[in-house]
C-alpha cells in the first residue's frame, strides 16, 4: 500500500482520506515518518480510482492544501523566539550605519563653514561634537543635527530593548557575552537554532568572513576572533592571550547556546563555571 496526501492506494484502488483540512494536515504529520519503499504517485489519465477528480480538480485541491501548509510553516517559523530579535539587531546595524555616514558628512560640511575647525587634539565625544555643531546658524544644517540626535535616541531605545529581550531569549549567552553582542552573534549565525548547532571553533570566527576566506584561500594567518572581539574580555586581553581567551569564550558560548536553545533556562552553575574558565584563560601563565 502507498499513502499519498489524498488517500491510501493499493491494488484494490484508492481509499480516500477525509477531505477536511484539519484531517488532511493531521494525516500528513503521520505520513512523514513511515513510507519505506516509496513509489511516487503517477497521475492516470483516467483519474484516481475511487475518487472522481478531474486533473484540474486534483491540482486545485492539492494547491489548496499546500497553501495552507506553507502559510502554517511560515507562521511557525516567525513565531520562533529569536525571529524578532534578528530583525531588531539588523535594524540597529542599519541605524548605526546611517548615523555614522550622516555624522561624517555633517562634519565635512561644518569644516567648510569653519575653516579653522579640526577634530585633532580636541578629543570631541559625540555629544560635545553635536553641541558644538548645533551652534551653527544655517537652518538646514541645524535641522540635520537635530534629526541626527533624534535618530541617536531611537538607536539607544532599540539597543536597550535588544539587551532586555536577549536576556529572556538567551539568558546564558547574554550572561557570558552581554545581550547586544550575543544578539549580533545570533544574527550572524542566522538564528539561535543555527548557533546551537555550530561548533565552538566556528563561533569563534563568526563575523570574520574576509579574514577567514583569505586564510582558506591564500594561507594568511587564521583569524583569532570575529564578533566576539566586541566583548571586553577579548579586546581587553593582551595580545599574547587574546587568541586563548577567544577560544575558551567561544567554546563556552557553544555550550551556552545549546542550553538556551534546547533547555531554555538560565543555568547559574554553568555560567559561574564558564566565567571563571574564561577569566583564567586571560591570566598569563
Amino acid at each position: 500500500m502507498q499513502s499519498y496526501w489524498f488517500g491510501d492506494v493499493d491494488e484494490n484502488g484508492c481509499t480516500p482520506a477525509p477531505p477536511e483540512m484539519s484531517f488532511l494536515v493531521a494525516r500528513l504529520e503521520s505520513l512523514r515518518t513511515v513510507q519505506e519503499r516509496f513509489i511516487p504517485f503517477t497521475w492516470d489519465p483516467a483519474g484516481i480510482s475511487g475518487l472522481c477528480w478531474t486533473r484540474a480538480e486534483y491540482i486545485a485541491r492539492l494547491r489548496n492544501l499546500c497553501f495552507f501548509l506553507a502559510e502554517l510553516g511560515i507562521a511557525q517559523n516567525y513565531e520562533a523566539r529569536d525571529a524578532e530579535l534578528l530583525q531588531m539587531i539588523r535594524t540597529l546595524d542599519e541605524l548605526d550605519d546611517m548615523v555614522n555616514n550622516l555624522t561624517e558628512r555633517t562634519v565635512e560640511w561644518y569644516r567648510v563653514k569653519n575653516p579653522d575647525f579640526s577634530r585633532k587634539y580636541l578629543h570631541l565625544s559625540r555629544n560635545r561634537l553635536m553641541k558644538l555643531m548645533k551652534k551653527d546658524e544655517g537652518p538646514a544644517f541645524r535641522q540635520i543635527i537635530e534629526e541626527l540626535e533624534r535618530i541617536w535616541a531611537v538607536r539607544e531605545a532599540v539597543t536597550a530593548e535588544i539587551s532586555s529581550r536577549a536576556e529572556t531569549v538567551m539568558p546564558n549567552c547574554s550572561a557570558l557575552l552581554g545581550g547586544l553582542v550575543a544578539s549580533r552573534l545570533v544574527s550572524s549565525a542566522g538564528g539561535l537554532g543555527v548557533l546551537a548547532r555550530l561548533p565552538g571553533s566556528s563561533i569563534q570566527v563568526l563575523g570574520s568572513r574576509t579574514a577567514l576566506y583569505s586564510h582558506i584561500r591564500g594561507g594568511t594567518p587564521p583569524p583569532k576572533h570575529g564578533i566576539i572581539f566586541q566583548h571586553r574580555r577579548v579586546h581587553n586581553a593582551t595580545k599574547a592571550t587574546r587568541g586563548r581567551v577567544a577560544r575558551v569564550l567561544a567554546a563556552k558560548l557553544a555550550i551556552a547556546a545549546r542550553i538556551d536553545y534546547y533547555r531554555q533556562e538560565r543555568d547559574a552553575a554553568f555560567i559561574a563555571e564558564a566565567q571563571s574558565a574564561i577569566d583564567s584563560a586571560g591570566d598569563l601563565r
Binding site: 499513502s3 499519498y4 496526501w5 500528513l28 505520513l31 512523514r32 515518518t33 513510507q35 516509496f38 511516487p40 504517485f41 503517477t42 497521475w43 491540482i59 486545485a60 492539492l62 494547491r63 492544501l65 499546500c66 497553501f67 501548509l69 506553507a70 502559510e71 510553516g73 511560515i74 517559523n77 516567525y78 576566506y213 582558506i216 584561500r217
Partner: protein, 202 residues
C-alpha cells in the same frame, strides 16, 4: 520556446517582479535567471505545455513564474520562510504552481504531495546539492530530464570550479545518470555550471 527576434519570452500575466513586456509576452532575462541563460546558450530541453516540473529551490518564484507559463504544472519546493512569502504571492495568481514549503534534502517530508514529473530543475545553494538532486530523482519518470545548476562557490570556495564540476559528474554517473551536457553559464552567471542528465538504462 518562444523567441521574439533574439529575445526569450514567455506568455503569461506580467508584473511578477517588474519584468519588461513585449506586447503580451514577458521577457525572460538570462542575466537574472539561470534557466533562461541556458536557453540563450542553446542547451536546454524545450519546455512543453503538457510537462510536469519539479522545481527545487524555487526562491522568490521569478524563474518559477516563467517556467509555469510554459508547462502544465510546477511543484515548487522552497524551505526559507522569507522567499516563501513571495512564492505564495506568485502562486496565488498562477493556478499551475504548487508551492511546497519543505527542505529538499528531506524528501520523505513532502514526497506524498508530489507525483512523477517529466523534468526536475534544481537551483539550490547547498554543498550537498548533487546528493539532494539524486535523492529527489525518485520523482523523475523514466526518460525524464534532470537539470542541475551547480553552484560551485556554494559547494566550496577554495576548490577550482572545474574540479567540482568533474566530481559532480562522477557522483551523478555513479548514481546511474547519463549526462547529456554540462555547460558553464558564462557570460551570464559566473562560476555556475549546469548539468543536464537523464536516468541511464538500469
Amino acid at each position: 520556446m518562444i523567441w521574439i527576434g533574439k529575445t526569450l519570452v514567455s506568455h503569461g500575466e506580467g508584473g511578477v517582479y517588474g519584468e519588461k513586456l513585449l506586447g503580451e509576452y514577458r521577457i525572460w532575462d538570462p542575466h537574472r535567471s539561470k534557466f533562461a541563460a541556458l536557453y540563450y546558450l542553446g542547451s536546454a530541453p524545450e519546455l512543453a505545455h503538457d510537462m510536469r516540473v519539479l522545481y527545487l529551490g524555487a526562491a522568490n518564484g521569478t524563474t518559477v513564474s516563467h517556467v509555469a507559463d510554459y508547462v502544465e504544472c510546477v511543484y515548487a519546493i522552497e524551505m526559507a520562510p522569507r522567499p516563501m512569502q513571495d512564492l505564495l504571492a506568485v502562486a496565488r495568481r498562477r493556478d499551475n504552481i504548487i508551492p511546497i514549503m519543505a527542505d529538499a534534502r528531506r524528501v520523505e517530508s513532502f514526497a506524498f504531495l508530489l507525483e512523477t514529473v517529466d523534468l526536475i530543475y534544481q537551483d539550490i545553494a547547498q554543498p550537498d546539492q548533487v546528493a539532494i538532486a539524486i535523492r529527489n530523482s525518485v520523482f523523475l519518470r523514466s526518460g525524464g530530464v534532470m537539470i542541475i545548476v551547480l553552484k560551485t562557490r556554494s559547494i566550496s570556495v577554495a576548490e577550482d570550479p572545474r574540479v567540482i564540476l568533474r566530481r559532480a559528474e562522477g557522483e551523478l554517473a555513479d548514481a546511474g545518470f547519463c549526462i547529456s551536457r554540462s555547460v558553464w553559464l558564462d557570460p551570464y552567471h559566473q562560476d555556475h555550471a549546469v548539468l543536464i542528465c537523464s536516468r541511464g538504462p538500469e
